[in-house]
Amino acid sequence: MRKPWYSIFYVKSPIAKIGLGILAVLAGIVLVLFLMATENKRMDAQTASWEGRSIEKGASLFIANCASCHGLDGKGLPVVAPALNSRYFFSQRIDDVGFTGSLKQYVKGTIHSGRPSKVSTQWVNIMPTWSNQVGGPLREDQVDQLVDFVLNWEEEAMAQTPEEDPWQFFQDSLSKQLPYSPDEPGYDEKVAEAIAAAEAAGAVGYEIGGVAAEAPTEGEGDAAAGPRAPEDLFASLGCAGCHNINADQTDESKGPVGPNLGNLADHAGSRVDGEDAETYVHQSIVDPGAFVVPGYMNGVMPQNFADQMSEDEIQGLVEWLLSH
């Protein structure tokens, strides 16, 4: 019988088969040794890879959920939410609040459980709870992805000079130290900011950046100081962060976050029927949601200015805004 072409596969020789087996064992050992030699690097690469992927996912979560308050670049918005992409935040924050865990745990705890509101705070919005374990919208793994994304600012933040650091000092938990060296540009301004925050909170007997504050003397307390000047209020309460007082609000030039206030007097009286200019501006300060200029979002402007100023101060501010 003629042998078919595939008869080459009819291997009978045991030596050939044993040889094949031995070669295969040797080849297998070589492959396993190759893997052994590269295994540490592979594991490192995988570890970094999954961290990287987590940061990628965190980025999209941040843009969707966090950027409206903490800013697209994480540098915070005045009086809305603090900066995260900040040198102070990375190097000093957990010491100042007395947190005993790591920064990663601090960030995770904050995102997970939020920050319940305090009696006195300069921030407009409270940090909500984000984890679905405590009523928020995100799964635990998404909270972890956000943490990874926020911490990935470290390299950029640590390179900031005091001048570039967008941190705004909290009035309800004072800074005890500053992470900057006195010869860096902007150091003095940063110390002054920290002290201003402490003073705004009425703190006494603190020391910031080596500057010991004096205890307030008689008559320097809030009550005795009398109404603050409107131009100071406009700066210290953060109005200037969103409203440009030096530009006019026109169709060609609109303020990006809040309307420009340069020509406020021209149209304040005509915005709402039955309200004159003073009533309208006053109401816009104490209850910003009552009327929102078309093209702007409700809820961006802080709702608590009535608590932060006395009635006299608000009146002064209204007059100043309309006459500016």
């Binding site: 592979r42 890879s49 990935n152």
Partner: protein, 543 residues
């Protein structure tokens, strides 16, 4: 017996060699060292054949035949598919136990465990890849084993029941593979299994389908309980079922013998168990050597594939709220997915596969043709080939290529940077994608020549081609162009904004935006293809 008088009588050396020979004979269950040497030299056995002893002495060999017909030991008669299927079951058990050490069947933990296996366990990825490749190989080899049996007509009397149990083993293999699919708890797993179990829901009548679905998932949707159930099916119940039917199947194989090539016996005859003395090939040593060599070579092939060409996929963690675009079943269920696209779930997902399965099991009882010769079985072989071609066509229809396309701009972005998995942009990676704005209305490939920007050039050519392809194909997608903006979001993190604009058939402008982020360290891979060994390159600091 005292040792000393024995040594005095025989001398030290002889007592030693005899003792060693005795131990050797005990270990091999009856083969002495001398006989072993004669085996290796290829010498014929003496009479009575001393090489039969292990078959009666040793448990593991008592189920193996002592000799085979020469014709069935030829490689091209069986291709060793049966023993490879059995071996893969053992292989999957061993690699599976290794993986079980680090795995917790809980939605809170499973996915993190997968990442830990990949990034923190030495040989972890290796074992996972082997297990996954072994599972896919097992499906393929069991199927090929069935195809071989069909083509040689070996299911014919008296082997009808062997075929029947074989079909059961095929089904159990498919279920084993499918139940393991859910365990990594990633998007791929979750949605493939959601689709799969929803087919169980279509079983008529409604109450039965819903109950089956509820029993499988442990809740209306797959969750912690569903994962635990699939885990127990995968590691305990299905292996036990497979184990049982394997022994029934194998007992039948040995009992009737492997069928001879059809040309070597008369039609209707079965002489597999009447092997003339000159045609006998003894298990010891010839078949043992053959099978061992095949299994070792196969193992090395698997290790080779896993080292360079195969990586088990792992997508994002399962998210019941978001179905990724183009969810597909594993490839061996593409045919089913294809059928589901052209008919309703109850018919294509339950009744038709059920009928096909019963038909498949019943083939030996239905086939009236006594001949196993190819020229007598034209109808059977042609219908077998037609069935195979239909399966391949249905499988193609099961892929996203067929009748599951999203809108053109979505497809363009999906092609470049899919929601899950790698895609060309992620595979080329962070380092080769410079920041900038890339507008396809400009001649991008010329602006970014291949010599200077090898990766970016490829991406831009692909981007342009994709848009042109859909522009030509879809009348609602005209004068389309795309703008890719790459910006630095954070250190080591780039943001890629895809913006596609077009005019529809009425000339109304449309646009589609999608943003993705890409980290320097992220590795993305496809399941099949050369692995990326970039991590072996020295890093910038080391240079």
């Amino acid at each position: 017996m005292a040792v000393q008088p024995e040594v005095e009588k025989k001398g030290l050396w002889r007592s030693f060699t005899e003792g060693a020979d005795d131990i050797f004979t005990r270990i091999t269950a009856g083969i002495s060292a001398g006989e072993f040497r004669r085996m290796l030299r290829g010498e014929p056995p003496g009479r009575p054949n001393p090489r039969l002893k292990p078959h009666s002495e040793a448990f593991l060999l008592h189920i193996k035949p002592t000799y085979y017909h020469e014709s069935v030991t030829r490689f091209t008669h069986t291709f060793r598919l049966g023993i490879l299927s059995t071996y893969l079951f053992l292989f999957e058990t061993i690699t599976g136990i290794f993986l079980m050490i680090w795995y917790t069947p809980s939605p809170d933990q499973a996915y993190a465990d997968m990442i830990a296996i990949l990034s923190n366990v030495p040989y972890g990825q290796f074992m996972r890849d082997l297990h996954r490749l072994g599972a896919e190989m097992m499906v393929a080899i069991v199927t090929l084993h069935m195809v071989r049996t069909y083509l040689t007509g070996s299911y014919k009397p008296p082997r009808q029941f062997t075929w029947f149990t074989g079909v059961i083993l095929l089904v159990v293999t498919l279920f084993l593979s499918f139940s393991g699919y859910l365990l990594p708890w990633d998007q791929l797993a979750f949605w493939a299994v959601t689709i799969g179990t929803s087919m169980a829901e279509a079983v008529p009548p409604k109450i039965v389908g819903e109950t089956v679905n509820l029993l499988a998932r442990g809740a209306p949707d797959i969750s912690a309980n569903g994962l635990l159930r699939f885990y127990l099916l995968h590691v305990l119940f299905l292996p036990l079922v497979l184990f049982l039917f394997f022994f029934v199947h194998y007992y039948k194989v040995v009992h009737f013998g492997i069928s001879l090539p059809a040309s070597e016996e008369e039609v209707g005859q079965d002489t597999a168990n009447k092997v003339p003395a000159d045609k006998r090939v003894y298990f010891l040593p010839d078949v043992l050597i053959d099978e061992t060599a095949v299994l070792i070579a196969f193992t090395t092939l698997m290790i080779f594939l896993v080292t360079f060409f195969f990586s088990a996929p792992l997508e994002s963690i399962a998210n019941p709220q978001s179905t990724p675009l183009h969810t597909v079943a594993p490839w061996y269920f593409y045919w089913l997915q294809g059928m589901l696209k052209i008919a309703d779930k109850t018919f294509a997902g339950v009744i038709l596969p059920g009928v096909l399965l019963v038909l498949l099991m019943a083939i030996p009882y239905l086939d009236p043709n006594p001949s196993r010769r190819v020229r007598d079985r034209r109808v059977a072989i042609i219908s077998g080939i037609v069935a195979g071609v239909v399966m391949i066509i249905l499988s193609w229809m099961g892929t996203p290529q067929y009748a599951a396309q999203a809108a053109p701009p979505v497809e363009v972005v999906q092609e470049m940077m899919p929601e899950e998995g790698a895609g060309i942009v992620r595979e080329i990676g962070y380092d080769e994608i410079p920041n900038g704005v890339y507008d396809t209305r400009n001649d991008l490939p010329a602006m970014y020549p291949e010599e200077e920007y090898p990766g970016m050039h490829e991406i831009l050519v692909e981007f342009e081609d994709n848009i042109k392809y859909w522009d030509k194909r879809d009348s609602d997608f005209n004068e389309a162009y795309g703008v890719l903006t790459v910006s630095q979001e954070q250190p080591n993190l780039k943001r890629l904004d895809w913006d596609i604009r077009w005019l529809d058939a009425e000339g109304v402008e449309g646009s589609f935006q999608r943003s993705f982020w890409l980290h320097k360290d992220s590795l993305y891979w496809e399941e099949y293809g050369l692995k990326d060994f970039g991590y072996l390159m020295p890093t910038e600091e080391e240079q």
